[in-house]
Symmetry: C2
Subunit: 334 residues, 2 copies
């Protein structure tokens, strides 16, 4: 199994990427890695090239680049080269810490979608208070527009993913909606509800509301990409702002408060651990012919290690083809 | 100026409602109140009936009632009677702590919308870290479906509200979207962007993303009711869950942590104050012929006092008619 790695994306590339890959290589001896990026810089930090090949690239896609344009014009960038290698069958999966939009474009236009899926979806793992496995939410923004059938496809792929990678036997699939009752929502979500209710092989638990995302009421939450994007960003933004205000309050209020803060610090670390999803890896672009995963630009060595594990689980279980087979069967049953 | 009060809605009705109204009555001598509800229960808690009239009602709309059905069948409920009194011109505005859906239905079907507004919108005030005035967001769920022209109408009404009630000269109006660039969004939001850009008399600042709602980047955020509902609930849910985890961490970790928690408590209260929006009053149902405001079911005396102030400001400034005039002019300019 060979994984194509865009070694140049992210805040601390290529150092943190190379360190994470070496850690993963030391753990799983049946994995090979091809690192796409600046050969000199990669060699500076690489300790041991066992099972690791470097392919030199001299272009880089920046976070500020317009995604589709970047993919088309920077043909020798680490991201495009990595994607092309998967398309050409040289590698089995790819991952990147770079520009999310560009990775979506590379996934869709270079690697390509599985035939039975109309639109690939972006699926991160969010933390929940009652399980270290978190909740997967899709789509969170690969698509601005959606149809009910897309949501049905995403539900099936999310369910298969939760079975294969999170080892949940019957993943609870919820539909993000504006109320919990069955008749809630706009036309799109009412239609999606009916489709999901009648989709065999998924354990549909009905509507969930976005105030319950972190409460762990579902294993997979299906949503259109526009609403999912708003719910994800509101969740992340609120957490960031509250934790920032908390830190400010504990640090800027004189000696006694600082002393108190030092005393409570270990307990507060427990909260940080509850909301830590680094073991879940990165956000998966589901619906492509091969696993494509986006890790956060600020990902550390451990997150990269677990992202490799995530890809490894998808390859071992043939997660992508399993979804394809399901959809082909669904198609022929019609 | 006469305000119709649904005295029976909310968790601690009628006691907290009556106390709040008496406090407001003592502050603004030119306001009169008509309390709709159980006369015996209201009289038990009413200290002084100056400028306060009671109209006895013997039905109550519960939080669990189906909104439209409740409005149609419980004609002698405090909420329906209060709404009817505004429709009939006996009172100039109404407010309730009861069932939000039922209040929306009462507002739309009994009081009625202003002619030039296609769909009334629900607009709460959310806290922001950089101003006690918070941010108004509309629509957060009065409508599951939206058109770009609705969003334009909501932007104008939100802007007039922020001028009249929050005393902001040129309120910054943002469009909730899935990216900050001008070309972002689905068809609806791209159309809305163009309309807002070309709407005179509003200070349109472009797209805002939901991770910035609490950061205070806009005074009014316009959104379709489905996305707004998801963003609002994700924001509220995340804040609730994090603060709950924080409390748990500080209280369940033994003696030293509790001691530390006691030391930092005054500083943490500062955060609570930052996120306190009780002075903003309740959520306004904008687009109706008269001011209709929904206060939270758990609202305290102060929130009710400030909700009256909010209604008072809208009546003094003729906020509702000002929007109507604007739309009539817009119509005739076409």
């Amino acid at each position: 199994m060979k994984i194509a790695v865009d070694a140049m994306g992210g805040d601390n590339a290529p150092q943190v990427v190379v360190e994470g890959i070496e850690k993963a290589r030391d753990e799983w001896s049946d994995l090979e890695f091809v690192l796409y990026g600046d050969e000199t810089k990669i060699k500076e930090v690489l300790q041991n090239n066992k099972n690791i090949t470097i392919v030199h690239t001299d272009e880089e896609i920046l976070g500020t680049d317009e995604p589709v344009k970047a993919i088309r014009s920077k043909k020798n960038s680490s991201m495009v080269r990595a994607a092309r290698s998967v398309k050409d069958g040289e590698n089995d999966a790819m991952f990147s810490l770079g520009n999310t939009g560009a990775l979506l474009a590379a996934g869709i236009f270079i690697i390509g979608r599985i035939k039975q899926v109309d639109r690939p979806a972006l699926m991160p793992t969010l933390p929940v208070t009652n399980s270290p496995l978190g909740v997967n939410m899709l789509d969170v923004g690969a698509n601005a527009e959606a149809k009910a059938t897309y949501l049905q496809q995403w539900a099936v792929m999310g369910s298969i993913y939760a079975q294969d990678v999170k080892q949940i036997k019957e993943p609870r699939i919820g539909l993000l909606n504006n109320g919990s009752e069955a008749d809630k929502g706009d036309t799109l979500h009412k239609e999606a509800y009916e489709l999901l209710k009648n989709t065999e092989e998924i354990n549909f638990i009905g509507n969930v509301e976005s105030n319950d995302i972190l409460a762990g009421v579902a294993d997979v939450i299906v949503t259109d990409g526009f609403t999912g994007n708003a719910a994800l960003k509101a969740t992340e933004g609120t957490a960031r702002i509250i934790l920032h205000e908390l830190k400010k309050a504990l640090m800027n209020n004189g000696f006694f408060t600082k002393m108190g803060a030092a005393i409570v610090a270990p307990s507060l670390k427990g909260i940080k651990d509850t909301f830590d999803t680094s073991r879940a890896g990165g956000a998966v672009l589901l619906g492509l012919k091969s696993p494509v995963v986006k890790a956060h630009g600020a990902a550390d060595v451990d997150t990269i290690f677990y992202t490799v594990k995530q890809i490894y689980d998808m390859l071992l279980n043939d997660t992508v083809n399993k979804a394809n087979t399901y959809f082909e069967k669904m198609q022929s049953d019609k």
